[in-house]
Amino acid sequence: MKVLIGFLLTLSAFAQTDTQWVLQQNTLTYHVSHPLHQTDGISHAAKGKGVCHANQCDFLIAVPVKSFDSGDSNRDLHMLQVTRGAEFPIVSVRTRLPESDSKSEDIKADLEIQFAGQTVRYTQVSFRLEKQGAEIHVTGTIPATLSDFKIDPPSLLTMPVKNEIPVRVDMVWHQE
């Protein structure tokens, strides 16, 4: 009986063993197109964590809206205003992936993004994974649009920017 209980406890302990992923390096880049020129806003300030349990990993990535730098403080403040970045200061991305995905080279993820006071889900977003020891280099592009988040396109000289604001993701995750 004691052996059985011991075996069950051991099994239970193994079943509940969690692994974690921590975001180590990141570059998030949004791209805006205007008839007069193109702009990229870059942030390296994202924080992220993934917790794996029962073969499923839950990831959360958060980045302050203010941290995006387009090279022009006036434009950044304007972007902060139109995206309601003071009211909703954090962009968060959640996803749940099978633990086995960490062994794949290409994955598709369903993302739940909270931004500008809206929650929007993007399905089957492609990411490329490159294993580097205990780290994984993840790259991909989230096909975001301004209208998804009910953001009025900012304009210059009465010409609005394009609705599409693809966000390029370049991250290095470390397994702990």
């Binding site: 007069l36 702009t39 349990h53 403040l77 003071a86 954090i90 369903d110 739940e112 006071g117 809206q118």
Partner: protein
Amino acid sequence: MIITGFRLSRFWGFLGISLHFALSVGLLAQTAAMGVLTGKISDSSGAPVANATVTATSAETGQMRNATTGADGSYRFDQLPPGSYVLKVEAAGFKTLQILSTTVEINKTTVRDEALGTREIGEEPRATPQENLPNAPSSTTAPSLSDLGLTPEQTRGDLKEQALLDKRTHMLKIHQRMGLITTIPLVATVILGTGAGGKSEGTATRDAHVALGALTGDLYGITAWYAIRAPRIKDTPKRGPIRFHEAMAWIHGPGMILTPILGAMAFQQKNNGEKVHGIAKAHGPVAIVTAGAFGAALLSVSVKF
């Protein structure tokens, strides 16, 4: 009789124990077949939303359960049959949130923390459109913002700053449009200026030049007022083309004051039948430099907006 009585009491005793055992097993089985759904409702800043109504509707049976969030924003559904649930969160002053897929598993606690967006005045409550995804987030282990080391100060929204940003953008939009409008009489004034001075004896061109110059000055004043009065946002060091744009203002600003003064002197001299002389001769060059700085300022934020 004693033996019979003993046997009878033992019978009832066994029956009692058996019934108790059977009921216990039944209750245990019932408990084991259920799940728990819990979580916290917060606003966009992460502050808990109390008295929010959370409704869990079974996707399979349509059975509904309601819960109200406590002071800490938490809600809890005990004894939920396992399956997929539609979760609806309603709270006064917030947009109604609807999550189409939340899975409750047997003997497990599903944690679903959600943030509500603020509803603007006059806006009708409506569900956030979301899709039923195969691997959508729904888990007991999902990390939270605090797990990432973000403090409440970092995640809390600042409505005052947002209002300041809104005002700033509103004023700068007017500044931008007024600047564009000002360009039209400015260019016309410069063009007419070539025929207004020098050896020209006619007064019509000169009068039109003066009138357009005055209009330009007025419009410029309005344009500048909106830029100067636009709120400043603290902790935002200036970088990029806006620095050049503002540097140009130190040229065209004084130029816009000096040009009409010199122009008035030149106008007076011409009206007296004199040749423009002295400092008034600088009217033309100052006007050109001013217009050039104004154009450069406009282009600096247009080409790299």
